[in-house]
């Protein structure tokens, strides 16, 4: 439990760093570290498949995409961030955490429990049999993403 809490605190710290750091490359790397910690948390929650996907896809592939974009667009040094954010963000975030700690316990009591029986079978059976519709949706979304990227990077006609 203590290790899990430490991992969760690390996850929040790296996520906040990813938002606050000025250097885009450093913030992409701290986002990857946050994903790595989230993957370890998933492993410790008996969810190995989600952990594997989180570490390999989010910490690996998405970080590569981010680094590639940063390399293609420059480091964004021309963007002037408002200085106020660096002061206001930690204060508002700390206030948010306090409210979160106070309110969340009360909210949990009001969430009705879902009527569901005990799960049986393996992960594969649940994924294929119970969530077939989600898988069809996933395939459609991936195809849509591929076509969107192709459309965005198509060569311009002479008439454009």
């Amino acid at each position: 439990m203590i290790l899990q809490t430490a991992l969760l605190i690390g996850l929040v710290i790296f996520s906040v760093l990813a938002i606050l750091l000025k250097d885009l490359l450093k913030s992409a790397i701290s986002l990857a570290l946050a994903s790595l910690l989230l993957g370890i948390i998933f492993f410790r929650m008996n969810a190995p498949y989600a952990g594997v996907f989180e570490i390999s896809v989010v910490a690996g592939l998405i970080t590569v995409l981010f680094v590639l974009t940063i390399a293609l667009t420059g480091k964004g040094e021309d963007v002037r961030e408002s200085r106020l954010v660096n002061w206001v963000f930690p204060l508002v975030f700390a206030a948010f955490l306090v409210i979160d700690a106070l309110v969340m316990k009360g909210l949990l009591g009001q969430v009705p429990a879902l009527a569901s029986g005990a799960e049986s079978g393996s992960f594969g059976e649940v994924l294929w049999k119970a969530r077939t519709f989600d898988l069809v949706g996933q395939i459609a979304v991936i195809l849509a993403g591929v076509f969107a990227v192709l459309a965005l990077f198509r060569k311009r006609d002479k008439h454009d």
């Binding site: 990813a18 989180e54 969530r131 991936i142 591929v146 990227v149 965005l152």
Partner: protein, 102 residues
């Protein structure tokens, strides 16, 4: 079990809050997208934490994997859009988009 659930939901809400604050305060397009990613991390932690606390971890895992796969195509599309915007305006500043015409 409620204590475990409380722990996960507390940190999930913290991640979503941090992401929302980042969305409100930052101006760099890539930074804004990183904030959206942080919100997404909070949501997947929320899903899996609730599944863990309610003893339906397999369904939660299936949902999280669906989310991760969709996230990849979302990221690819959004980063392609950001690169196109950069080519168009020569800047990553979100305020530059307000000046676009027709």
């Amino acid at each position: 079990m409620t204590n475990t659930w409380y722990l996960y939901l507390f940190f999930a809400a913290a991640l979503v809050g941090a992401g929302l604050l980042g969305l409100l305060g930052k101006r760099n397009l890539i930074k804004l997208f990183i904030a959206i990613e942080v919100i997404g991390k909070g949501i997947s932690l929320l899903l899996l934490g609730t599944g863990f606390a309610k003893a339906s971890i397999l369904t939660a895992q299936a949902l999280v994997i669906t989310y991760i796969v969709i996230e990849v195509s979302l990221v690819a599309t959004a980063l392609a859009l950001i690169i196109n915007i950069y080519r168009h305006t020569k800047s990553l500043d979100i305020r530059g988009l307000a000046k676009l015409k027709g």
